[in-house]
C-alpha cells in the first residue's frame, strides 16, 4: 500500500509556485529522503502532506485518505516534527514528554513507560528535570523529536530533525529511526541538508529544486546514474621530478607535489586512465606508496543534479 500518493501537486503564493506539479509515490515501511537546497519547497510539501495547508491544485492521499476531505483522520495517524523548534518553555523535559502523550490521549501507565524509554533512548535522563527554556538548541531538538514517539503512528514526517545535533546525537537518532522502522513498519518522510544522513538512512531519495522534483531513486541507483566519474588517488614518494613530463599526455589526471606527489584521476574511465598511469610508473621504476579509490557520494550527485536543474532553468529563461 502507498503511504503517500500525490499527483500534479501545486501550491502557489502570490502567483509564485512554491510547489510546482509534484508527483509522489511512497510505499509503506520506507524511509523516504527529501533533499533540496534552502527554499526548494521541502517544508511546503511537508505542510501539504500533514494537512497544515491546502494545495492550490492537485490530489494528495496520505495513508489512503484524502488530505482535503479528511485532514483530521490523517493527523490522528501521523507524527510530525516540524523544522522550527516547538516546545513548552516552562515545562521540564520529562513533563513535556508526559503532557504530549496526554494530548495524544495515551493512558497514564503507557505515558510513564514511554517517557522513561525515550529519556534513555535520546540521552535525556540527566536533563529530565530541566525546563525547556533552559536547554541548548540541540537538547531542545532532541526533546522535540523524542516527544513525537510518545504516541503511535503509521507515518512520521521529520523536517530536518538533526539540525543542531552533535554527531553522536545525530547517529543515535538515525539508528533509533532505523530500529523503529524495523519494529513497527513505520514509514518515514525525511527532509535533510545532510546528505550523508540521507545516504545512511533512506531507501529512496527525491531531490527537489524550485518546487519541482528533479529525480527520485535509491541512493545506489542515483550514484550509478549520476556518479559516473570516479576518483582514484595514487601517492608516490620517489622519482617524482619527472612525473610532470611523463604524465603530460594523460587526460583527466592532475599531479600535486607535496611530500612526494599525489596523482588524482577523476574520469568516467578511471580504470583505463589508471592502467595507463600504472604502466608509465612501472616503466620508470616509480614505486607506489598508496592507492585509493574514493566512492561517489550523494553530495556530489546532489550538487550535480541541482546545478544541472538551475542551469537548464537559466537557459529556458
Amino acid at each position: 500500500m502507498k503511504s503517500i500518493f500525490a499527483r500534479s501537486l501545486f501550491k502557489s503564493y502570490n502567483e509564485i509556485n512554491a510547489v510546482d506539479g509534484i508527483d509522489l509515490d511512497i510505499d509503506d515501511g520506507q524511509i523516504f529522503g527529501f533533499l533540496g537546497p534552502n527554499g526548494a519547497g521541502k517544508s511546503t510539501v511537508i505542510k501539504l502532506l500533514t494537512t497544515l495547508i491546502q494545495p492550490t491544485s492537485g490530489k494528495i492521499s496520505v495513508l489512503g485518505i484524502d488530505t482535503v476531505k479528511e485532514p483530521l483522520s490523517i493527523r490522528k495517524k501521523i507524527g510530525v516534527v516540524l523544522q522550527q523548534p516547538s516546545y513548552e518553555p516552562t515545562l521540564s523535559v520529562e513533563r513535556s514528554l508526559e503532557k504530549y502523550g496526554m494530548m495524544w490521549d495515551i493512558d497514564k501507565k503507557t505515558r510513564m513507560d514511554r517517557t522513561e524509554e525515550l529519556l534513555t533512548a535520546f540521552n535525556l535522563v540527566e536533563i529530565r528535570k530541566k525546563r525547556n527554556e533552559d536547554l541548548s538548541i540541540g537538547q531542545r531538538r532532541r526533546v522535540q523529536v523524542a516527544r513525537e514517539f510518545m504516541h503511535d503512528m503509521d507515518l512520521l514526517f521529520l523536517d530536518e530533525p538533526t539540525a543542531g545535533l552533535d554527531p553522536t546525537a545525530r547517529r543515535q537518532l538515525l539508528d533509533f529511526l532505523k530500529n523503529k522502522v524495523k519494529e513497527k513498519n513505520l514509514t518515514i518522510f525525511y527532509t535533510t541538508h545532510v546528505l550523508t544522513e540521507a545516504e545512511y538512512l533512506c531507501d529512496n531519495i527525491a531531490i527537489i529544486n524550485k518546487g519541482k522534483i528533479i529525480t527520485v531513486d535509491s541512493p545506489n541507483e542515483l550514484k550509478k546514474r549520476f556518479g559516473r566519474k570516479k576518483t582514484i588517488k595514487i601517492h608516490v614518494s620517489s622519482n617524482t621530478e619527472a612525473l610532470g613530463n611523463l604524465l603530460e599526455n594523460i587526460q583527466d589526471c592532475k599531479i600535486e607535489f607535496n611530500t612526494g606527489a599525489t596523482i588524482t584521476i577523476h574520469s568516467t574511465d578511471s580504470e583505463v586512465v589508471l592502467m595507463s598511469i600504472l604502466k608509465i610508473l612501472n616503466q620508470n621504476n616509480i614505486a607506489i606508496d598508496d592507492l585509493s579509490a574514493i566512492p561517489t557520494n550523494l553530495e556530489e550527485i546532489f550538487l550535480k543534479v541541482v546545478g544541472d536543474s538551475n542551469a537548464s532553468d537559466n537557459q529556458i529563461s
Binding site: T50, T51, L52, L72, V80, L91
Partner: protein, 253 residues
C-alpha cells in the same frame, strides 16, 4: 478524553506556574491589605449605590474584576506563546481541529477567570463581609458576569495574539492595554468625584462595567444602570469573541 478537555488540561498545566500564582495572589493581596488600608487614612468611605463602603471593602471587591481581567489577559496570551514557541503548528498537525483549539482556549480563560474571581473573593471576604448582601439573584449574576468578563478580556488577548507577530509590538500593546484597563477604571477608585472627562473615559473601559456589576452583586445594589452595564458587557464580549474566533480561524502557518 475529548480533545478539548485534553487541550484545556494542557493549557492549565502550562499557564499555572509559580510565577503566575504569585502574580495572581500576592499582587491583589498587596493591593487589598497594604494599599487598601494605607489609603484609608486619605479615603474614609466610598459611596456605592445606596451604601457607604470602607475603602478596603471597595478595593477588595474591585480586585475581583481586576483579577479576572489580569488572569484572562495572561491566559489569552497562550495563543501568542503557542505561535512564538512553535506549538500552534505542532498542535494543528496533531489530532485536533481549529475549533478544538479555539474552544479549549476560551474554556481555559473562563476557568482561570472564575478561579481567580473565587480566589480574590475568598481572600477579600474578611474585608468586605460586613457590607455583603448576597441573594439568589446576585450570586448567579456575579458568576455570569465573571464568565462574560473572562471571555471579553480573553478575546482581546486572543485578537492581539493573532494579529501581532513581533515580540516588541506584542509587549508594548499588551502592557498598554493592561495599564489602561487597570487604572482607567473603577477598580481602584469610584467614577463619581473624578473629573468629568476622566469619569467618562472610565466608561470606555469594559473593566469598569465588570467591576461595577461584581460590586453591585456583592453589596446587593443592583440598579437599572447596573443592568444596562451588564447588557453592554455581554454585547461587547460577544462582538470581541466573534472577531477573535474569526482571526484565530484564519491564522496561517
Amino acid at each position: 478524553m475529548h480533545p478539548i478537555i485534553r487541550l484545556v488540561k494542557r493549557n492549565i498545566t502550562i499557564s499555572v506556574n509559580p510565577g503566575f500564582l504569585i502574580w495572581q495572589v500576592i499582587f491583589p493581596l498587596i493591593w487589598i491589605f497594604v494599599a487598601g488600608f494605607a489609603y484609608s487614612a486619605l479615603i474614609d468611605e466610598v459611596s456605592f449605590g445606596t451604601k457607604n463602603l470602607s475603602y478596603p471593602a471597595f478595593l477588595a471587591s474591585g480586585m475581583i474584576g481586576f483579577n479576572i481581567m489580569n488572569s484572562t489577559l495572561i491566559s489569552g496570551i497562550i495563543i501568542w506563546n503557542d505561535r512564538r514557541h512553535g506549538m500552534f503548528e505542532q498542535i494543528m498537525s496533531g489530532p485536533f481541529t481549529r475549533s478544538n483549539y479555539i474552544l479549549s482556549n476560551i474554556t481555559t480563560i473562563a476557568i482561570v477567570g472564575l478561579v481567580s474571581a473565587a480566589l480574590i473573593a475568598a481572600v477579600g471576604y474578611p474585608v468586605f463581609f460586613q457590607s455583603v448582601e448576597f441573594s439568589l439573584v446576585t450570586i448567579p449574576l456575579i458568576v455570569f458576569s465573571s464568565i462574560v468578563g473572562a471571555i471579553l478580556f480573553g478575546s482581546i488577548a486572543s485578537i492581539i495574539s493573532a494579529r501581532l507577530r513581533s515580540s516588541e509590538g506584542f509587549n508594548v500593546i499588551i502592557n498598554t492595554v493592561f495599564i489602561f484597563f487597570a487604572f482607567v477604571s473603577t477598580a481602584f477608585y469610584p467614577a463619581a468625584g473624578a473629573p468629568q472627562p476622566l469619569a467618562t473615559i472610565f466608561y470606555l473601559n469594559p473593566l469598569t462595567y465588570l467591576v461595577d456589576i461584581i460590586r453591585a452583586g456583592i453589596f446587593g445594589t443592583i440598579t437599572e444602570f447596573v443592568i444596562l452595564e451588564m447588557v453592554v458587557l455581554v454585547v461587547l464580549a460577544s462582538i470581541l469573541f466573534v472577531i477573535a474566533t474569526k482571526l484565530l480561524t484564519k491564522m496561517d502557518f
